[in-house]
């Protein structure tokens, strides 16, 4: 450590040390650390320093803000809110009852592409007012059970969806139980658009969090049916909709990846979506949206960063200028 450099510069302590008789053996060796004399740089807030700092930050921020805003505006996004429209007129007064009825609830939506969309186009479903971050909900899962076939009965955190008919549920817990089950099919000009549903989840989840030999068992067999059913012959590591759903969202408004369309969409293309409206967001007035979006280096369409950067950068430059003016008028 540099603190052990013997003093040569500081006269007082150094000379005191040398002139003192070496009788006291307890005396620690002189060091700049023990004498609190480590060389230190002592910056102070000079006007020049502060003003240039604000100026510099402003100058850096505005281009970044412009770039971020540009990236966000580049992204083409189609958002279609469908939860009300997909309920037949006659059931609009009692949506919950309608959605809880057994049977198919098909619905057709038509989307128009406003701008050319380059592939890959990500298909998300967006839920509003859905609290995946609720304390009861977010903890209600068993990572051990998902990963390992031998831990099927490890359902202690999963209450109240841990056991059904005396056997453990795999995958257990509220999160899996409430799996989103609307389905979408896309066609352009009456021609099926293929939707790639492989690789929509995190690779690390598929490989390490969800077991290749863990198969759904006893799922949605209880008295209350939550969301989607799972194909019991497909291992969890390939149930990508489940894997995506199990990455709980931190906010009550969130999008989850449904699939990827791997062809370009041209401007004014009309896309027919035939969807199955199964998921109950009606009891809590939640919204359901279908989102088709391209992506940029910053992610999806989100103006926040761009606007924030421009605002903060602007304020910084304003402050720099204000300080300069104040300094010139009244140096202190």
């Amino acid at each position: 450590m540099s603190s052990n450099v013997p003093s040569s510069s500081s006269g007082a302590a150094g000379s005191a040390d040398s002139s003192a008789p070496r009788r006291n053996s307890k005396r620690p060796k002189y060091s700049r650390f023990t004498q609190q004399e480590l060389p230190a740089c002592k910056p102070i807030l000079t006007p020049r320093w502060v003003i240039s700092a604000f100026m510099l930050v402003g100058i850096i921020f505005i281009p970044i803000g412009v770039a971020a805003l540009f990236a966000s505006r580049e992204v083409v996004e189609i958002v279609d809110r469908y939860e009300t429209e997909c309920i037949p007129e006659e059931f609009r007064n009692d949506k919950v009852n309608y959605i809880q009825k057994p049977g198919n609830k098909p619905c057709n939506r038509t989307l128009t592409v406003p701008k050319k969309m380059k592939q890959p186009i990500y298909v998300y479903y967006q839920l509003d007012n859905f609290y995946q971050n609720h304390r009861r909900y977010v903890k209600s899962r068993s990572d051990e059970q998902l990963r390992n076939n031998d831990s099927a009965s490890d359902t202690s955190d999963c209450k109240p969806e841990d056991y059904a008919n005396g056997a453990p549920i795999v995958p257990c817990g509220l999160i899996a139980w409430s799996l989103f089950n609307d389905t979408y099919n896309f066609s352009r000009n009456n021609e099926q658009l293929s939707l790639n549903k492989k690789g929509i989840s995190w690779k690390s989840d598929r490989e390490h969090k969800f077991g290749k030999d863990v198969y759904p068992k006893n799922f949605q067999n209880g008295t209350l049916i939550g969301g989607a059913h799972l194909n019991e012959s497909i291992p969890l590591s390939e149930q990508e909709d489940l894997i995506v759903w199990m990455r709980t969202a931190a906010l009550p408004t969130f999008r989850k990846l449904y699939g990827k369309i791997e062809v370009d969409l041209q401007i004014n293309d009309t896309i027919q979506v035939s969807l199955e409206n199964n998921y109950n967001t009606y009891s809590f007035n939640g919204k359901k949206k279908l989102v088709l979006s391209t992506t940029s280096w910053l992610g999806g369409k989100n103006d926040f960063l761009g606007i924030a950067y421009l605002t903060v950068g602007g304020i910084c430059i304003f402050l720099a200028m204000a300080f300069t003016v104040v300094y010139l008028v009244k140096p202190r």
Partner: protein, 934 residues
């Protein structure tokens, strides 16, 4: 008594002794041995016959004894008070703030708990996926509040205690290590025994100091004498080099010979011959040592003491004396005498020495004592300690009669001290006064400068001494304690009766009130007797006086009075520091907020009992201005920062609960939370122990800056409110930016949590940076190293598949949006902080800032003369000391007061005729401060 060794164990007897008490100076008991050993005689036992617990034997191989008191009933055991653990003002403030935060926490928990239950009952029942049971048990209501209690428990930083203990022990180490506080003469280092109260050093408001050995060296040197009306040593200042005296000794002038004989014999000194033949003296009193040494220089060498015979070598001839009786020194009698018998001619002499007022009134009828009184006056005005020497030849039968009485008095059990004094009185009269000795007790190096500097720093000094008033005043003058007229003014409180003291107090108080508005040094002087009355009957008045006066001299005070004075100042809520060197200061040292012991010549008793021990008084300056001040500043930052960072993360949790259905979900995982508190945020702040806002030199040059510490300007509810606001603001910044930048498809729990956490870490690194005044290598290492460590630790965690964090940090770090978000958080969070700090620094600079600018830009240091008045007038009751006026202290110490009390009264009386300056606001503020404790 000459009992054979074999007979020792056959001895039987009874010891009559008082019940155990704590007075280590008294032990009035009797020993009665049974026949056949000694006839049934009462044999008195006094404290001289006892060995106190944990004493060392010196000059002897062994002793035989009987255990009289044991265990906790020993004198030491009885007087061993249980020292209260000392709590510093800073600690008290931190406790207060902790209490406030606790209340805030409870309020938050209750509000959120109610909100959570309401949300649950109205909203959560509709959220079918949460599957709330329809009917829960009654305690279900408590679950959500308890969840929030758990979330908010981090609001009170537990780490603050650990961090504070760590840094406090380092402050203490810095004191121990300080090379500039080593006493070069004895190679003693300064030492901090109590490691917990360094901050208090920076907040000292009153210093109560002992005189002898603390301000002075306690190395007595015989300087002057007056023998039979002739002054020696007046020209050269050293009587031992005065040719006239040397001539007088060698020519055998009888007055001088007798004088020197008394100097050599009348004492309790034991000469010790070393192997080389050199004689050294073991003396309990430094004065006696000085006298014997001086006598030796005047060829009257005290060679040997064997049982009761003394040997004196005078001009190479041996003279033997037999010591018949020793009339001990007591503080009441103020003199001691010995009765000796000249072995050559069998004549019996009484040799006395003592304070002038204890000797001169007993002079024999015909003797002129005026010259001696004058000599005493002259010497004491020079700040010398005077002793009068006297003698009388005793008739054989007179002595025999008296000796019987003395023996009887010696063996009384009740009131022995008083009886003895009375008996001694019967012998000590008609003395022939030989002369006056003057002993100098030199001021320690740097005492005046130290006192001046510390007084500039706004510290008030009280001198508590056992010495006489005149000597105390002279010493006080010579060490800048009080200023001479006309700048200073001394007010005397005296009186023998309750009424007199009361009147005197009222007069002084009136003068004080008038003069507080003037830039004048007003000090009051009180002696032990008046103090006793004042403390007993006029406590309130005296307390007010204590508040008003910056300086006080208390003379002739006992150890317990010293402690009482400390108590009075403490009860007015002042931070007191007591400094002393001897056993009589121990109680005061223990009583004060900070006790400083000088490991000096009076032994280590004070140093052992003290919180800090230093070698010399002048180190006090460094101890307070450097160590105390830095400690306070550092602790002030560290403690508030600890609250800041805990509040920051807690606010984020609270905000998150609003978007998670007020259910009490924790945004951060438990590992991160723990690491945040004990690791990420504790390490950088620990290096603030190296922070220096101003260099030591600047502080020493501008001691007024200590005011910021004294008044607690750096740690109080309003500064804390600033930190509270900052943490709220930063929490909003981190939270809002995180949830907006990571919205929609990016809104993944673990990712958002890590974004918010890294936002906090970045912010705290910059907060520490902006609050640090001086960066050493270690600071850079800790601040930026910690930031790096945060990433490294989280990368490691992200590489473990079993952890919840798996791959999260790698994913984030490869996203440009993550770094852009961090940048945004830092700038948004720190921009306003920097702007406000800059604005304050430039346009509303504190004196600290002004000094920093001056120090670093090398510009002229602006006058800080006006540092005190504006804040002082509100919070302090002390008049500002005009610092800018040059001190015109006379090199020769002009007497401020002549010895006679009349002239003192005169100066006092003249001061009362001053116009009355109403200073009501000051007084009322002082009263309010005073009264809250009464």
């Amino acid at each position: 008594m000459g009992i054979d060794f074999e007979l020792l164990h056959k001895m039987k007897g009874v010891i009559e002794c008082p019940i155990p008490d704590r007075d280590i100076r008294r032990f009035d008991a009797n020993l009665r041995l049974f026949p056949p050993f000694i006839d049934n005689d009462l044999c008195p036992l006094t404290i001289k016959n006892t060995i106190l617990q944990s004493c060392y034997l010196r000059n002897t191989e062994w002793v035989c004894g009987v255990a009289v008191y044991t265990g906790n009933e020993t004198k030491l055991g009885m007087s061993r008070g249980i020292p209260e653990p000392k709590l510093t003002a800073v600690d008290a403030m931190i406790d207060k703030l902790t209490g406030a935060i606790f209340v805030f926490q409870i309020v938050v928990v209750i509000v959120l708990g109610i909100a959570g239950n309401v949300w649950k009952d109205t909203e959560a029942v509709k959220q079918w996926y949460v599957l709330y049971p329809k009917e829960g048990p009654w305690y279900e209501l408590l679950v959500i509040p308890l969840r929030f209690e758990l979330l908010c428990s981090i609001m009170i930083p537990i780490s603050i205690k650990v961090s504070l203990d760590l840094v406090k022990s380092l402050y203490a180490k810095f004191i121990d290590w300080d090379n500039q506080m080593i006493d070069q003469e004895t190679s003693t280092r300064s030492h901090a025994t109590n490691t917990a109260i360094s901050e208090d050093l920076g907040q000292v408001e009153y210093i109560l100091t002992d005189k002898t050995g603390t301000l002075t060296e306690n190395r007595m040197i015989f300087r002057r004498c007056c023998i039979g009306g002739i002054f020696y040593g007046n020209e050269s200042g050293d009587a031992l080099k005065d040719v006239e005296l040397l001539n007088a000794v060698s020519s055998g002038s009888s007055d001088v010979i007798r004088f020197v004989t008394v100097m050599a014999i009348c004492n309790t000194v034991i000469p010790v011959k070393s192997k080389t033949g050199a004689i050294s003296y073991k003396a309990q009193s430094q004065d006696e040592d000085a006298l014997v040494q001086a006598a030796a220089c005047l060829h009257m060498v005290f060679v040997n003491k064997n049982a009761n015979t003394l040997e004196i070598n005078f001009n190479a001839s041996i003279i033997q004396y037999e010591v018949l009786d020793t009339l001990e020194f007591t503080s009441d009698r103020k003199r001691m005498s010995v009765v000796v018998k000249d072995c050559q001619n069998g004549k019996i002499f009484l040799l006395s020495k003592g304070a002038d007022e204890a000797i001169i009134p007993y002079a024999c009828a015909g003797q002129q004592t005026r010259t001696f009184t004058e000599a005493v006056d002259q010497y004491s005005q020079l700040g010398l300690r005077t002793l009068c020497l006297a003698w009388r030849e005793l008739k054989e039968d007179e002595y025999q009669d008296w000796s019987l009485m003395f023996k009887e008095a010696n063996s009384t059990l009740v009131d022995r001290e008083w009886r003895l004094a009375e008996v001694c009185q019967r012998l000590e009269h008609d003395l022939e006064i030989l002369g006056v000795t003057a002993i100098e007790d030199r001021l320690q190096d740097g005492v005046p400068e130290t006192i001046e500097t510390l007084r500039k720093a706004g510290i008030n000094f009280w001198m508590l001494t056992g010495d006489k008033q005149n000597t105390a005043i002279q010493i006080a003058l010579s060490c800048n304690f009080i200023s001479p007229e006309p700048k200073g003014q001394l007010l005397l409180i005296n009186g023998k009766t309750e009424d007199e003291v009361g009147r005197s107090l009222d007069r002084v108080l009136l003068t004080m009130r008038i003069t507080t508005s003037e830039p004048k040094d007003v000090a009051f002087v009180i002696d032990g007797w008046a103090l006793e009355i004042a403390l007993k009957h006029y406590r309130k008045v005296f307390t007010e006086l204590a508040i008003l006066s910056r300086t006080a001299l208390c003379c002739r005070v006992t150890p317990s009075q010293k402690a009482q004075l400390v108590e009075i100042l403490k009860s007015c809520d002042y931070r007191t520091l007591a400094i002393g060197d001897g056993g009589n200061d121990v109680r005061m040292i223990q009583q004060a907020d900070i006790g400083v012991g000088i490991s000096g010549r009076e032994g280590l008793q004070a140093a052992r009992a003290a919180d800090y021990s230093i070698g010399k008084f002048r180190f006090l300056k460094r101890l307070i201005l450097v160590h105390g001040r830095y400690s306070y500043n550092r602790t002030a930052f560290l403690s508030q920062y600890s609250f800041y960072k805990s509040l920051l993360i807690c606010f984020i949790q609270i905000f998150f609960s609003f978007i998670s259905g007020v259910s009490g979900t924790s945004l951060f995982n438990s590992v991160s939370l723990m690491a945040y508190n004990v690791f990420y945020t504790s390490i950088p702040v620990l290096v603030s122990v190296l922070d220096k806002d101003l260099s030591e030199k600047t502080v020493m040059q501008h001691p007024q800056i200590l005011f910021y510490c004294q008044a607690g300007r750096l740690l109080n509810p309003s500064t804390f409110a600033g930190w509270f606001g900052r943490s709220l603001f930063h929490a909003i910044v981190v939270f809002v930016i995180s949830i907006h930048a990571y919205a929609y498809e990016k809104s993944e729990m673990e990712e958002v949590s890590m974004v918010a956490l890294s936002g906090c870490i970045w912010l705290q690194a910059f907060v520490v940076t902006i609050e640090t005044n001086s960066f050493t290598v270690l600071q850079h290492l800790a601040i930026w190293g910690n930031l790096a460590a945060f990433y490294i630790i989280n990368w490691i965690l992200s590489a473990v598949p079993a952890s919840g964090l798996y791959t999260i940090m790698f994913r984030l770090c490869t996203q440009p949006s993550y770094w852009i978000t961090m940048f945004l958080i830092v700038v948004t969070g720190m921009g306003p902080v920097l702007a406000i700090k800059y604005f304050r620094y430039t346009y509303r600079p504190s004196k600290i800032n002004t000094l920093q600018q001056a120090e670093r830009l090398g510009g002229p240091i602006l006058s800080l003369g006006n540092i005190e008045p504006q804040p002082r007038s509100i919070e302090k009751d002390v008049s500002p000391l005009s610092i800018t006026l040059p001190k015109n202290r006379n090199p020769v110490y002009e007497p401020l007061l002549s010895d006679s009390p009349n002239s003192t009264r005169k100066s006092f009386g003249s001061s009362t005729t001053f116009d009355f300056f109403p200073s009501q606001s000051r007084l009322s503020s002082s009263y309010s401060r005073n009264c809250k404790d009464n």
